[in-house]
Symmetry: C2
């Protein structure tokens, strides 16, 4: 949350009426039950409608398409992660110094995304939308602020993109599941990269 | 080319008979004419079949789908780029030292991909295939070899992924066309990143 506005993985939507909010929550609960029971692949507009006991049109009207549904499902854990790095305790949160926060951010992001790996991969936006997702833009702004504090002469905007790309969920899944690289090695790579950049 | 085997953007395909090779070339010429005249968006299986005066089934049998067709279309310029960094003159080629070659590689890659930007964006593979494209794996191997020569203690495999991600075509298009960042600033970012890593 920033100024009371959650920076969502899904696109912003207008204020919902109370019954719409309740229906939305029921659909998301149904989707979460399905994902827990049968994995992210089992989440379709049809299966969620059936699980919630509503018509497919109700799910479509609320979430647009499968991608919108999955992003909405990820929003809660994304909000917790945002709270952790924006206002949580050290080493992620604002009481720690910039170098400590930046060092902690990569492994925290890796663990956060790999805990919901199937959902994050299923929700991976199209190339044209990849860098326009609000939650991704918030991560970038956060990392750029820390980089600017630590390396005032650097191009913080570009360097923040590079740092985030080094722990991108599609890349790290390719390395971890595709090539058997331990996630700990990717975390060590983040620290090594920062050590080289910051000294 | 490595050992006479071109490392293609498209998946490897078995040896073609002479007439199949000729038909393939005719279809690619038709697609290139369409792209030159009306842009990458105009390339569809139907429009290429019409331009070449054949049935849509002929195009499908040869290239599978639109993505396969566009990758095949990009293969020629990709081969030229590969030749430049594997065996071309300095600063990209093997007569230059590793630091010079690595410094030159980023801007060369940026210019190469931005010269065929629409085609590269149209051919962007799905998340599950993004890191499995042979041409991308060749770039990674090349950068990792140079990083290993320059920073023997570093995790060259991860660092090579990070360097390539910093000049990824989807990211840089987002920055250049989406945010009006000059391509020269992205090139300077590559040099700045290397300066920080190598010193």
């Amino acid at each position: 949350m920033i100024d009371g506005t959650s920076l969502s993985l899904a696109d912003a939507e207008p204020q919902l009426r109370a019954d719409a909010v309740r229906n939305r929550a029921l659909l998301l609960e149904a989707a979460a039950r399905l994902a827990a029971r049968r994995g992210a692949a089992a989440i379709t507009m049809e299966s969620v409608a059936a699980e919630a006991g509503v018509g497919k049109g109700t799910v479509s009207r609320r979430f647009g398409d499968r991608n919108g549904l999955i992003r909405a499902l990820l929003d809660r854990s994304e909000s917790q992660f945002q709270e952790a790095f924006l206002s949580g305790p050290p080493p992620l949160g604002p009481e720690a110094d910039a170098a400590t926060r930046l060092r902690a951010f990569g492994p925290a992001l890796l663990r956060h995304e790999h805990a919901d790996l199937e959902l994050y991969l299923a929700a991976e936006p199209s190339p044209s939308r990849r860098f326009a997702v609000p939650a991704r833009q918030l991560r970038h702004r956060h990392v750029a602020v820390l980089v600017r504090a630590l390396l005032p002469a650097a191009d913080a905007e570009l360097l923040a993109h590079t740092l985030l790309a080094s722990v991108d969920v599609v890349l790290t899944d390719h390395l971890v599941r595709g090539h058997g690289m331990p996630l700990a090695r990717v975390e060590a790579g983040w620290h090594d990269l920062l050590d080289r950049l910051l000294t």
